[in-house]
Symmetry: C2
Subunit: 395 residues, 2 copies
Amino acid sequence: MKDLFASRMSKVPRSFVREILKVTEDPEIISFAGGLPNPNSFPHKEIAEAASKVLKENGKEALQYSTTEGYKPLREWIAERYRSKGLKVHPDNILITNGSQQGLDLVGKIFVDRDDKILVERPTYLAAIQSFGLYEPNFISVPLVEDGADPSALEDILSSGRIKLFYSIPNFQNPTGTTYSKKRRQEIASILQKYGTILVEDNPYGEIRFMGSDIPPIKCYLENSVLLGSFSKIVSPGIRLGWIVADDEVMEKLVIAKQASDLHSNYLAQRIVYRYLMDYDVEEHLKNIKKMYKKQRDLMVAMIKKYFPQNVKFTQPEGGMFLWVTLPQDVSSMELFNIAIKQKVAFVPGEAFYTDDPEKNTLRLNFSNSSNEKIEEGIKRLGNAIKKLINDNKK
Amino acid sequence: MKDLFASRMSKVPRSFVREILKVTEDPEIISFAGGLPNPNSFPHKEIAEAASKVLKENGKEALQYSTTEGYKPLREWIAERYRSKGLKVHPDNILITNGSQQGLDLVGKIFVDRDDKILVERPTYLAAIQSFGLYEPNFISVPLVEDGADPSALEDILSSGRIKLFYSIPNFQNPTGTTYSKKRRQEIASILQKYGTILVEDNPYGEIRFMGSDIPPIKCYLENSVLLGSFSKIVSPGIRLGWIVADDEVMEKLVIAKQASDLHSNYLAQRIVYRYLMDYDVEEHLKNIKKMYKKQRDLMVAMIKKYFPQNVKFTQPEGGMFLWVTLPQDVSSMELFNIAIKQKVAFVPGEAFYTDDPEKNTLRLNFSNSSNEKIEEGIKRLGNAIKKLINDNKK
């Protein structure tokens, strides 16, 4: 059948991370490779209660087909939450999706023609590369500096040719943990505005800031933008619920694309999540998640300081789930991966997160889904593997 | 932003049926326009029990991210059900999707390049036109005769140029209610085989046959095919769960496309449906649905015979949810719609279901989601509207 596949499929390799995650299925391996929230943070009893109420009180309705846009009260809750954080959004400008991952697919579907230039951060979220990649764009990447995308590099890129959209994760970026400062957000917004480039602002981790203070979304400074959100890190990823915020004109296209994609997102799940949000204290729940993740992040940072050679650099994010490690210039994280696996510890080599010319000495560590014991032991093993590799290189 | 949208979006009109369903939101209108299962058939108490057990026994796991392919035991259940009906399918050749609608989108994504010729039945499922349409194919249609696609027309079309895929709904087709005979299935399979055209066999209604006997899927006679299934009519449409059956090579591409689309389908819902299938008698449940739908279909047929003019033709399907009505040649169902709405009864004009050159004297009636009283009163009103239109035309 090979000659029958669409050309877009020939450009997409089998997911690198999928292959890595397979290797790490061995229960003896301590894995910092995944991107999973900590299941101890899932409110499964509360969700059980909410499910029981929804099915008892509105069972027939909750099991029926529903509207493409999503359950109105849930969209109102999301709008209200934005309002409480200073962003005015009308519920009609919110579309419920299957996690923010589907938001990426729908954005690709409505905006990206083959060979369109789209800009991503360098490095960027792997699954966004896969999602947009199926619409066959030309990827261009803008370097991340400490507090966001480099504005002068951004201006250079945008001024040298039309870029359709810029995909950014301004809070606790996956994979680097980088957060854009307020100043950087305003600068980026004004540059995008000048060149008419759409911002696709992905914010799956914004609610799990465990240090410092919230910074308004870039959307506050730029109309021409699409904002993605998710319940995956607030409630549960397995229920696959997220959303897109967009203006009327874009929303009309998104609704058409969503309807063609799967009619609507799981309606029972939308009702259950809404009921959960109504019946329980989500702030209290978030406080607990943040407390948990901060401890795990602090422990991982302490262990890195203890066990990694001093010339290894790493980020110290104020939220989210990931640390980004930069090895000395000539040390390959792919080679490190092979050594580390033998020592029963895993991570994702950084090259998975680049659209071109990868920095081969980088890697991503997840801290949200490991026990204290595993963080201590795993980082120790990884430190040993790094030292071994650096020593081997010297020979 | 208009000039920023992808070219594929310019070709898709806002859904006709969406607009029609909006008109029919008036609670005084008796609507045969929708395509909804009867909510009285939903096992909401049993689903509540299943949800409670899953969340109690495996809550943390059921709320976590899961595999793209879907919950293995659920895929094994589907494979076993096929085996019991004579089709050998390995669970690894099944991908769980968000209803069979997402199956259509994924099939479009992996197979359809812009301007590819794809063949559909004439008329065909509206949302398939929308779903495939976003991949910008050239649609060609093959007429349906009483027992399936017309084989000589099919041969003519396939011999006159390369057709990538043929999309077919062989059981109780939406919109016409047509079912392919076994002989026709074998003929169609052998013609597709000859020309190397992929069959996309959609079977959302196969389990709700309320008369006659099951006929094997066309896939039994043709390897080069993709088979779509759904829990929407067996358990609940609101939970958005369906599946695709495909060979290894196609499955690999489907998994990549599914992962890029939304990582995986709602895992909690997959666990709940599986638990429901384990703990309850699905055959008994299906028996009740079929009994209900047969009564409604029989009543609608009886009322049509009583109230419609004799020169109006209609199908009498052995399963599914729809009847197809053909008015006299010069009578427009769009004009009828406008008269009918004033008399507070609604349906979908047939032209929505054609990719080209619509038969303007056709319309679709849904019988699954109306009470006896509504079927009696609604068909009476519709009969009057038809008579009025035919009389008006004579003037």
